[in-house]
Symmetry: C2
Subunit: 356 residues, 2 copies
């Protein structure tokens, strides 16, 4: 498939640590409930899963934030749990309770039974959406594809939904690590196939979200989360259609393990807000680009304070290539959309200033 030429390549360049005119910015969950137009489309779609599985509507909500804000990237609108859903676990969303699985995995035999989904079959709705969005973007900004990390996916699959204690998954981790490794291995293979299919369908950068890696110990983080993300990094198509495809890994709560993340061979590491970006930069040097790291709650503050905090992060990072501005977690649904506009413009303004 031939796609229009990319006009705004700040994101790709920054992820590859090449110079850019200003600091690129996109926002995790930028297509989401804080936007009234998103809520309207969501209502039209029916359930959240109906929205994810309808390529036209998924494309529409992906485009919505780009119409409002000068964002430097689009990110595929989808859910992180599409892979377990395709594995047959029966994903559903109970009102106000987050994701649930009808058939969680609790035993070695549950795990032995599941297979690696074929992205051109069960997950075709995702790659179809990717291609449609890429066409619709018309080269305006690059499209980011994504997946949950094997560890993060496995927490939902074994617990049967969100968790506070991680009782079942950690019980398995400590008592039957072989079964958990089998599950994580299937998930890593699935994520590789899924992200490569997104790349072939038109994703110009990919990101792995390890939302729950931060609940592990240093040793179990390496063994049960990071090693599988490294397998993914090694299995991805890093060149497609003559372009380099940058890979970003993001472990929320993983600032302590930043050196190890940088050593996986990824292009960029995501940062939450529990570490100063200048400290992160001095720790990892020029090994990877950094994406982050504003506390999402700053968007509840006044426009003036939002500008101050954007400037602070840009100043801390300094005049070097390799910074993609973002929040340290997804945007909260009760944020005033105008405040995001203030942030995006401030990033571009101060990003320009620091390069003078």
């Amino acid at each position: 498939m031939a796609f229009p030429t990319l006009k705004n390549d700040r994101l790709i360049k920054a992820l590859l640590r090449q110079p850019t005119d200003t600091t690129p910015v996109w926002i995790m969950r930028q297509a989401g409930r804080y936007l009234p137009e998103y809520r309207a489309t969501r209502k039209q779609a029916g359930s959240f899963l109906d929205l994810c599985k309808n390529k036209e509507l998924a494309c529409e909500v992906t485009m919505q934030p780009l119409r409002r804000f000068a964002l430097d990237a689009a990110i595929l609108f989808s859910d992180i749990l599409t892979i377990p859903d395709a594995m047959g676990l029966g994903l559903y969303f109970a009102d106000g309770e987050g994701p649930k699985f009808e058939r969680p995995l609790r035993s070695a035999s549950d795990i032995a039974r599941i297979g690696v989904p074929d992205p051109s079959e069960e997950l075709r709705y995702v790659t179809d959406a990717v291609s449609l969005i890429r066409q619709e973007l018309d080269g305006k900004v690059p499209l980011i594809g994504f997946s949950g990390s094997p560890w993060t996916l496995s927490t939902y699959m074994v617990e049967g939904g969100s968790s506070k204690e991680y009782r079942h998954i950690k019980g398995m981790m400590y008592d039957d690590p072989a079964s958990l490794h089998q599950l994580l291995d299937k998930l890593a293979q699935s994520v590789i196939a899924y992200l490569n299919a997104q790349i072939e369908a038109g994703a110009q950068a990919v990101m792995v979200f390890d939302t729950w890696g931060g609940v592990l110990t240093p040793q179990t983080y390496r063994e049960f989360s990071l090693d599988y993300m490294q397998t993914i990094v090694e299995g991805l198509k890093r060149e497609h259609d003559g372009q380099t495809i940058p890979v970003t890994l993001f472990t929320k709560g993983g600032a302590q393990w930043l050196e190890a993340i940088a050593d996986t061979g990824c292009n960029a590491a995501g940062l939450d807000w529990t570490i100063d970006i200048d400290e992160a930069r001095s720790r990892i040097g020029d090994r990877v680009a950094l994406q982050g790291n504003l506390d999402p709650c700053v968007l509840y503050a006044s426009p003036e304070k939002i500008r101050d905090k954007a400037k602070e992060i840009i100043t801390r990072f300094g005049n070097h290539p390799g910074h993609v501005f973002n929040l340290g977690h997804g945007i909260h649904q009760t944020v005033n959309p105008d405040h995001l506009g203030v942030l995006v413009d401030a990033v571009h303004e101060f990003g320009l200033e620091i390069r003078k």
Copy 2:
């Protein structure tokens, strides 16, 4: 009041980095719902708050885990939100939803209105329980008193309960820091008076729980949490009745800021499980003792695995004074109590072994 002489002083010695025969161990929330006898007493009391406010029953549940396990300390049974309750915010517990306040603080005038509670009046039920427990312990093990940190208390007081996003408190922090500082200052003064009253009533060590400090940035952690804990450390009676009263600070998710915590003048720092205790020790040297740091989910594993993990932490800490074994967070309510017995005995066994 004259109390019986302390027979098992391992905890106090370890907190003061003095040699002990083996590694002392106690468990956060050791008096709690995982014990059937606790659930029976709780039922008898009525609500959770009724249990906290009845000194005989609070004493009973404090003693329960000591009858089962060879623990080296008792900890006052109480709630971290007694201070805001005494300030008149109207604490209540909605079924399965955690703590709530009828009158959360949302404005500068709300904050201006509240005062510092007199521990001998509104919080008398706590100090009465402390003295009764101390008598009842009969010198068997020391009694730990505790409080929530000003930051952690303020999150509940401003949000009106538990939070995932910290929308209101962080909005105030970024937009009206002066009001939040006023609140935190009142809380720090309240915690000092409250903990000193516990010490005078018989608490032999005190601990400050900063459960939510880890949701802050490095700069806001220092300004809105750690500085107030330092004020508390400086305001506490560190000697009472001829004995040194050790102070422990614990910020969950605060391993990155361990050096700064150690520099407050506290005697010990609590560790969650996201850092290896040998790394923590090499970072803070001999400045403070360390308390922790087993992942609470290890108690869901087999007895053999529990022993392995206890041994690993003790081995990592090595043959030095200054380690108090604990979990990195409160014990989960669905843990099998026998598994805690396995852990306590393993700590004493391996603690003895490493000193040979």
